[in-house]
């Protein structure tokens, strides 16, 4: 079934929440629409469901990898040319702990950043109907709509209080 994007722009959060309610009543699933805002709003402010993500796994994976790489670097470099300095053991735990600590945290940070980008579904192409007014405080409700329901959704968005409704020209919508 061919789908096209349709965007309703609202001046306030109440109108956008009403539009989300209408979409749900009209049998649209959460995957078929999204609310776009210019700043963070409290979770569920527009009646959208709880957002599931696995961000918390990323730092643990990164930390484990960073730890492993740091240990390998510590042991490998010192064993490959074992010079005794200051009478200290070749594999001395205190300095190894320091390098390993930094490596572990570096891995955790790198993977957290990757996790934020990945879980935010970035990078992505900006939809053609995206409206810059969203960063000026308007709230956008974007729907991936079957062609035959475009008029119905347009009416529904306007009835909820949309000040403007934009249709994606031709191509299939990806949101």
């Amino acid at each position: 079934m061919a789908r096209r994007g349709i965007l309703g722009l609202f001046r306030d959060a109440d109108g956008a929440a009403e539009a989300v309610d209408w979409l749900r009543r009209s049998q649209f699933s959460s995957e078929e629409f999204e609310v776009l805002t210019g700043s963070p709003y409290p979770e569920g402010a527009f009646g959208e469901g709880h957002i599931k993500h696995r961000l918390f796994i990323f730092p643990f994976v990164g930390a484990a990898l960073g730890f492993a790489v740091a240990i390998l670097l510590n042991i490998g470099t010192q064993v490959s040319y074992p010079i005794v300095t200051g009478g200290k053991p070749i594999l001395s735990l205190p300095p190894m702990t320091i390098i390993t600590y930094e490596g572990t945290l570096l891995g955790a940070i790198l993977f957290t950043v990757l996790g934020i980008v990945f879980e935010s579904r970035l990078p992505s192409r900006l939809p053609k109907i995206y409206d810059p007014r969203i960063s000026d405080g308007y709230i956008g409700v974007m729907v991936a709509c079957p062609e035959e329901r475009l008029n119905e959704v347009d009416r529904g968005l306007r009835q909820a209080g949309a000040v403007d409704v934009k249709w994606e020209p031709g191509a299939a919508a990806k949101i």
């Binding site: 999204e34 609310v35 776009l36 805002t37 210019g38 700043s39 963070p40 709003y41 409290p42 979770e43 527009f46 959208e48 957002i51 993500h53 961000l55 918390f56 730092p59 670097l73 510590n74 470099t77 010192q78 490959s80 040319y81 010079i83 300095t85 200051g86 200290k88 001395s92 300095p95 190894m96 320091i98 390098i99 600590y101 930094e102 490596g103 945290l105 570096l106 955790a108 940070i109 790198l110 957290t112 950043v113 996790g115 934020i116 980008v117 879980e119 935010s120 579904r121 970035l122 990078p123 992505s124 192409r125 900006l126 939809p127 995206y130 810059p132 969203i134 960063s135 000026d136 405080g137």
Partner: protein, 458 residues
Amino acid sequence: MQERRDTSFPQINQDLLRGVIKTPIWFWLVLGALGMVVLGGAGAMGYLFYVGLGLTGLNWPVMWGAFITTFVFWVGISHAGVMLSAILRLTHAEWRRPATRAAEVLTVFSLATAALFPIIHVGRPWRALYWIFPYDFARGIWPNIRSPLIWDPAAIFTYLTGSSLFVYIALLPDLAAARDHTTGWRHTLYSVISLGFRGTARQWRLQVMGGILLSALILPVFVSVHSIVSWDFGMTMAVSGWHVTIFAPYFVIGAVHSGVAAVVTLLALMRWVFGWQDYIRREHFDALGRLMLVVSTAWLYFFFMEFLFALYSGESAEIALREMQVFTPPWSYFFITFLLTAYFIPVPLWLFRGVRRSVPLMFLTSLSVNIGMWLERFLIFVPGLARKQVFTFDWYTYRPSAVEITIIAASFAVVALGVLLFSKFFPLVPIYDVKEGEVFSTRIEVGRRKVPAVVREE
């Protein structure tokens, strides 16, 4: 947040993106002036590399001088970013909003500048490759991980990478806002680097959660960096005044002291230069002043502890060194100036609400702190080395040369230039954070008064 004025989203965009979209004449003038100083520094550096370290005032046994002092100074300044940004984010402090980006950016540029100094200091910077990078450049010899001089680059690399990524992630929504308000090549640039951010509920959730998570991860790095910098000295047993067990917390708290002061300096400049009186308000300086009162007093406690430990050790060399620092010119002049400027002039002034809420006074007192904190590091490193040897004929003093002074002056211009150029391409106040403050703010009636309040989501 009594002074907050309701501001619309378009107004916030217009105000905070003004510096990005329009280029006033002063920008070119300041850019030119800073560029000249940086070029001067680059010339001095080239001359130093060509002729050698004989151009500096360094001589045995004082082999660590103003370059290393400035390295530690800039690492200290870099601690402001994470201290303010991470702790204030984690505690949901409302007054963090205009300060976080400036603090994070200051961290990145000051840390990058700090990292240059040990490389300049070795005189033959290309040889730093053999010493720092874990690669067997010659004959299978790898860096010696038992040396603090390897821990240091490892910690700085981690901190610089983490801080830069932290800035970038927090910048994504603002890059999207810049994309929405620009045309032509700028629009294309912001479209690419904003990665297609469009403000879905999911993206905001991840932005907020990610910010908190990154803050929590960078905090332990922040503590480790200056601890490790202190061990560059603390692990050296041969120099009086260096081998001190409380150096790590003492350096960390000193770094926070100088770093927060540097953020105050930067915020005052941003308020004057960009006219952001509605965003960087007197109440923010007030809050920072209160924070600095606590931090500076904690720092003073560690300073006295460090001094006291040296005196209680009963070691004649330690006591002689302290005597020299406090009573022998020119060190005594530096010592008095350091104590007055780092603590005894600014801190009593910050006790007064009028001073904390006066932008010019906060600007001057924050500058005073950093003059003092530079001298503090100088007094830790140089006198100890000057009296490193037992015999008086091996004693030496140290005076930075013109080349060293030029390079150090240029380092201030490098950091200022970095922040200035950043402000040309990216907003220095987090736009989305200010907007979030607007969304979450309300007014509640308490008795007969209507007072501003902020809603916090758990």
